[in-house]
């Protein structure tokens, strides 16, 4: 018996068709008609797992049918794998990145920058026709393969296994080291002995933390950013100029500004104008990197802001959000909680620190762009000392009117594991808001156990 699949209702089609096109980096566009066709015909056949009606498993997406940009971020997510394949066919260069950086230098050097999550997404999308069970099984098998080839004492093996096995056409591995991520060394080691061991590697050396006010550190890091751009140029055969970087910074500043404005609009609403997944998918557009296409992200972001403003003005509540939901602020790297199941439990995610930290940090546009970018990166609130990061987080928690704070980190994410307790203690001391720390297990029973804790925390609030 076939699994029951979710279908976007025809009732919303008309409004959707009135919305904007998405414009991509290569200048091509896709119309709402084409997106609608993809989401209702093509994608359910290719990726049944993404449409399966299953309460407990899988990424069911937001399913807020009357919010056109929700459908569009869904579209970009589902087409991601195919778009990366196409980009490679057209000779575009792709870099594997890790750490908490903004991708401005990669944009300047005409290179797509993908973090572990996106590398996994690219690989996941290569196989068609799987239901949720089959898809989960396939992902677990690929993790098993990873454990065979590299130390499993890494967070989630970071997606390096795909690079190592040569499953994905990655041209260069260029992470920032020592920027909140303890996993990079494992990954870098891993790729040295796979069939892809000759993939170019550059560690962008980030001066040890808490050096933001030291001119030497900014200079040193700026020099590393130049090395990064040179390495990317060796792959593409281009010559990236200072002006290219300045242009990229300006473009990304536009994204960061819009992302920040959108988040603040969302926070200003009495009732949450979207559910957790939509909030996250729209605010995260601000870094212009999540879909591997800067222009596509920007075009959806601009439109998203318009729709959110409209909803806030009319007091519209997001799909599947409870009345007076408990507002959760989520801390920690790379992972979040299950939005839809937490909504079922009467909660909503109103913010995160990861990504938001660099979305809300604009880069100076006057002067040496390498220096400016280095300075901004060293100043990311997320990368500061525990006390400073906690104070910044408290501000965000207050702005978002959160009722509770959950610090969640991956098993093997050593930096976040080490600082979670002191950060949470400061937040608790200064705001009195209840907090909870959760370590996500490696794959396995984690979904149920994790949700159990989140639900208990929500019940407590």
């Amino acid at each position: 018996m076939g699994k029951q699949l979710f279908r976007y209702s025809e009732a919303n089609k008309e409004k959707f068709l009135e919305s904007d096109n998405i414009t991509f980096n290569d200048g091509s566009t896709v119309s709402p008609e084409e997106i609608w066709h993809y989401l209702t015909e093509e994608a359910p056949a290719k990726y049944p797992s993404a449409f399966e009606v299953n309460l407990y498993q899988g990424n069911r997406g937001s399913r807020d049918e009357t919010l056109p940009t929700s459908l569009k971020t869904r579209y970009l997510g589902l087409t991601f794998s195919a778009r990366m394949e196409k980009a490679k066919d057209n000779g575009k260069s792709i870099a594997f990145i890790q750490g908490g950086q903004a991708v401005d230098p990669y944009t300047a050097a005409d290179t797509i920058a993908l973090r572990p999550g996106l590398v996994n997404q690219w690989n996941n999308g290569l196989e068609y026709g799987n239901d949720i069970n089959k898809e989960n099984l396939r992902r677990k098998k690929s993790k098993e393969k990873a454990f065979h080839d590299m130390s499993f004492e890494a967070c989630q093996t970071g997606g390096y296994e795909h690079v190592q096995a040569g499953d994905l056409r990655i041209d260069v591995i260029a992470p920032y080291t020592v920027l909140r991520c303890s996993d990079i060394s494992y990954g870098v080691e891993a790729h040295r002995h796979g069939p892809n061991k000759n993939v170019k590697l550059l560690n962008v050396d980030y001066p040890l933390r808490f050096q933001a006010d030291k001119p030497w550190a900014i200079e040193y890091f700026a020099k590393n950013l130049r090395r990064l751009v040179n390495t990317l140029d060796e792959v593409t055969g281009r010559k990236t100029s200072e002006n290219d970087l300045l242009k990229a910074i300006k473009l990304h500043n536009t994204g960061r500004r819009l992302g920040t404005e959108l988040a603040e609009l969302w926070w200003s609403a009495d009732v949450p104008p979207t559910n957790s997944d939509d909030r996250a998918s729209m605010v995260s557009l601000g870094n212009l990197e999540v879909h591997g296409d800067v222009q596509a992200s920007l075009s959806v972001l601009k439109e998203a802001k318009k729709f959110i403003a409209e909803r806030v003005k009319n007091g519209v509540k997001g799909h599947a959000v409870a009345d007076n939901p408990k507002r959760l602020f989520i801390l920690g790297s790379c992972v979040g909680i299950n939005g839809s199941r937490s909504e079922d439990a009467g909660a909503i995610v109103v913010g995160r620190d990861d990504q938001w930290s660099h979305c809300s940090s604009l880069v100076e546009e006057v002067g040496d762009p390498f220096y400016n970018l280095a300075k901004a990166t060293l100043e990311y609130p997320y990368e500061q000392s525990i006390e400073k990061r906690a104070q910044w987080t408290i501000e965000q928690i207050k702005k978002s009117r959160a009722d509770g704070v959950i610090f969640i980190h991956n098993w093997g994410c050593n930096t976040q594991a080490a600082i979670s307790r002191p950060i949470v203690d400061i937040i608790k001391r200064e705001t009195g808001i209840p907090t909870y720390i959760h370590e996500r297990d490696l794959h396995g029973l984690r979904d149920e156990q994790e949700q159990n804790r989140v639900n208990a925390f929500v019940e407590m609030l």
Binding site: L55, E448, Q449
Partner: protein, 270 residues
């Protein structure tokens, strides 16, 4: 007899046992306890039916059912699902309103729960990464010494010395135990050490959430007298003597919550 509006059930399908409690007019009327099978819907129903049978009731006689425990997500018979943290809190508060701290030791995890005078959860911490502090761990140890689980605590209490146990992983603890025996350590002293090691780790959980009297010990492991004593020493507290089988506290809390919900939803008036 006015059947409608009087009976409320809580069903707690844990990783190792399924429990049920039926409340009538605010009193515990019937209970059920069965081992959990792989099918959690079936396990929950078996526990519920056991209580229904002993009470001479049918499922239709129940006004409201709350499901809890890991099996709560697949409990089609329940009107609502609530996590076991909330349920243990309500259950302990219902029996002993002066309780402010709960230790729940079940089959696969251990929970430290702080509650207020109304039985609302104020903070909690749980351990499920390592097997120490779980019923499963003690079951394995009972197996190693070939003794009945129910006698494990009493044997530990008969010890003349404490042999510390450093491993928290069940597999390593098993081999550590075997080498301790080979070294000539007495089984009761090793078991005593095991109970104290677990108690110390539980104390560690409380370093996060704090302790306030009265303290209640729930879950199946609470029936282990050696564990109770070791925890009392580690936390420097006296544990309240439970009025009912402590393994049923989660299900009792679920039944109390069922009563509250049905009242809120206007299905019943006091």
């Amino acid at each position: 007899m006015s059947i409608n509006g009087n009976y409320f059930a809580g069903v707690d399908v844990g990783s190792l046992a399924a429990k049920s409690v039926i409340l009538k007019d605010g009193e515990i009327f019937a209970t059920g306890l069965v081992p959990s099978g792989v099918n959690s819907v079936e396990s929950g129903l078996n526990a519920l039916n056991l209580a229904l049978e002993s009470a001479g009731l049918k499922q239709e006689d129940l006004t409201y059912i709350v499901g809890t425990g890991y099996g709560r997500v697949s409990a089609p018979y329940a009107n609502k699902a609530v996590t076991e943290i909330t349920c243990h809190a309500k259950g302990a508060n219902y029996l002993h309103p002066t309780v402010r701290t709960i230790i729940d030791m079940g089959g696969q995890d251990c929970k430290a729960i702080r509650i207020d005078q109304d039985g609302a959860v104020v903070d909690f911490a749980m351990n499920d990464k390592c097997a120490a502090g779980t019923g499963r761990f003690l079951e394995v140890m009972a197996g190693v010494f070939k003794v009945e689980l129910k006698d494990l605590g009493a044997i530990a209490l008969s010890a003349t010395d404490t042999v510390p146990m450093s491993s928290t992983c069940t597999v390593f603890a098993e081999s550590e135990t075997i080498s301790l025996v080979a070294r000539g350590e007495k089984p009761e002293n090793i078991l005593n050490g095991i109970h104290h090691s677990i108690a110390n780790r539980i104390a560690g959980l409380f370093s996060r959430v704090g302790i306030e009297s009265d303290v209640f010990f729930s879950g199946g492991v609470a029936k282990n007298s050696g564990m109770k004593s070791a925890i009392e020493q580690a936390l420097k507290v006296t544990i309240v003597k439970p009025e009912i089988d402590p393994q049923l506290i989660g299900a009792l809390g679920a039944a109390v919550i069922a009563r509250n919900f049905s009242k809120k939803e206007g299905l019943w008036a006091a």
